[in-house]
């Protein structure tokens, strides 16, 4: 398992989801991707995308004008 980071700041829905989707496609099951966004809508969209595509949100947290979402890559089933 490896950890990666993705900067999706100053992007608006659905670009943070698209960037997450494209980066996750390059990773292995079990890898963790930490996505940083400024669009608070990402707190809804990225978890929704994870649920329907077989990935897991390990946690979310809010920073100064930012939200951070930790995604564990699933097996794509």
């Amino acid at each position: 398992m490896a950890r990666y980071q993705l900067d999706a700041r100053r992007l608006f829905c659905p670009m943070p989801v698209i960037r997450t989707q494209n980066r996750v496609a390059e990773l292995q099951p079990g890898d963790v991707l930490e996505v940083t966004c400024t669009d608070p809508g990402a707190l809804n969209d990225i978890p929704a995308w994870c649920r329907i595509n077989g990935h897991r949100v390990l946690g979310t947290r809010r920073g100064d004008n930012e939200v951070i979402i930790e995604v564990e890559v699933g097996d794509g089933a």
Partner: protein, 372 residues
């Protein structure tokens, strides 16, 4: 919410002679990719096909002009509103995967050179649909999917969903009879999935026209009680005010082209053009000002320093007289709009700032034709 993917239907397996290479005869499941906009029609189309035991996955295209969430995410007063992405939400209700594809760059040619022209505003709906079905076809071929479904209904939309234009979409996209419209299929010639028996034509629908009643009834039958507004409201290009600002941008630059930042900025603030060679983008509230802050280094910008006021970006070339007028307009939208004189800071592209003492422009001097 149903997550079912039925696989006991006669349509679940295809005839062996039609199987792509590499699949065992009689065992490969039929798969369809659906254009999912987030609206009701595509939601219903997917469920109709799911009910026939077909594995469906969704595809959603991002053109840059999608209404989804942008302004809600920017404007402070809207930040308490539900910001769900409707396509993702629909996919979750249907229990299907959703693939969101960024087509911002490729879409420029669709918008700038539409073979079939524009609708009421700058919406190239027919070319847009042809392009999206073509992209879905490419995706389907790459991922081993057998046909494409859409939520189109004959007569539903004035440009892209007419009896004479639905065949144009099928033909010019290259999808031909691999394009199935489950909601109006009975009004159209049988497609490949119907002829091959993958899909039972009798279980498809014959909706037509602008009425939404059949869709509402079908939604009720499927137990869908929450869904987004009908199609057409999801693209800024169908919006008259947005289209006017886009055309103004091209006229001012003397060329028809755009970048992502251009189309984002057209969604934000008041756009005021006092002269052909420059315009002002005035933040209307805190959220928009915060958004415009991100563009400060790319634009000459103004802000009232003696009173609270908006951030104003200046797009174009402005001489000293123009800057004074821009400062007066900036002051007009500040808390000091009734004061005799206010101070406005002007910052150039080199980052150097200076202050101008100006009288706020009276409302009757702000010409209506300056507002885009």
């Amino acid at each position: 919410m149903s997550q079912s993917q039925h696989n006991d239907s006669p349509g679940a397996n295809r005839g062996s002679e039609k199987l792509p290479e590499g699949r065992a005869p009689g065992t490969a499941p039929v798969k369809a990719v659906a254009l999912v906009s987030g609206g009701l029609d595509s939601m219903l189309a997917v469920r109709v096909i799911q009910e026939q035991g077909i594995h469906v996955e969704g595809i959603n295209f991002y053109t840059g002009f999608c209404v989804e969430g942008h302004t809600h995410a920017i404007r402070k007063k809207d930040q308490g509103k539900d910001k769900r992405n409707n396509a993702l939400w629909v996919a979750e209700q249907l229990g299907i995967k959703l693939h969101i594809i960024d087509i911002v760059e490729e879409y420029k040619d669709v918008l700038l050179n539409p073979k079939h022209g524009y609708g009421a505003n700058m919406n190239p709906c027919l070319d847009c649909k042809i392009f999206m079905v073509h992209k879905a076809l490419e995706w389907a071929e790459k991922h081993g999917f057998d046909f494409i479904i859409t939520g189109e209904v004959i007569g539903q939309r004035p440009m892209s969903q007419r009896k004479d234009t639905l065949p144009v979409v099928a033909r010019e996209s290259g999808a031909h009879d691999r394009l199935l419209r489950p909601l109006c299929a009975k009004n159209l010639p049988p497609t490949l999935p119907e002829r091959e028996g993958w899909v039972e034509r009798d279980k498809l629908h014959d909706f037509s026209g602008r009425t939404r009643k059949p869709q509402m009834a079908l939604a009720a039958r499927f137990g869908f009680s929450d869904y987004a507004s009908p199609a057409g409201g999801c693209c800024f290009l169908t919006d008259e005010a947005y289209s006017r600002k886009l055309v103004d941008l091209w006229q001012a630059r003397g060329r028809r082209e755009y970048e992502m930042d251009d189309i984002m900025l057209l969604k934000v603030g008041r756009h005021i053009r006092p002269a052909p060679h420059y315009k002002l983008i005035v933040g209307r509230e805190e959220g928009e000002n915060n958004f415009l802050e991100g563009y400060r280094k790319q634009f000459v910008h103004l802000r009232c320093t003696s009173h609270t006021g908006p951030l104003v970006l200046l797009d174009g070339e402005a001489n000293e007289e123009d800057l004074r007028l821009a400062a007066r307009i900036t002051a007009r939208y500040s808390k000091g709009h009734l004061a005799e004189q206010v101070t406005v800071q002007v910052t150039g592209l080199d980052g150097v700032s200076r202050e101008l003492a100006v009288a706020p422009l009276p409302p009757d001097e702000l010409k209506p034709e300056w507002h885009l």
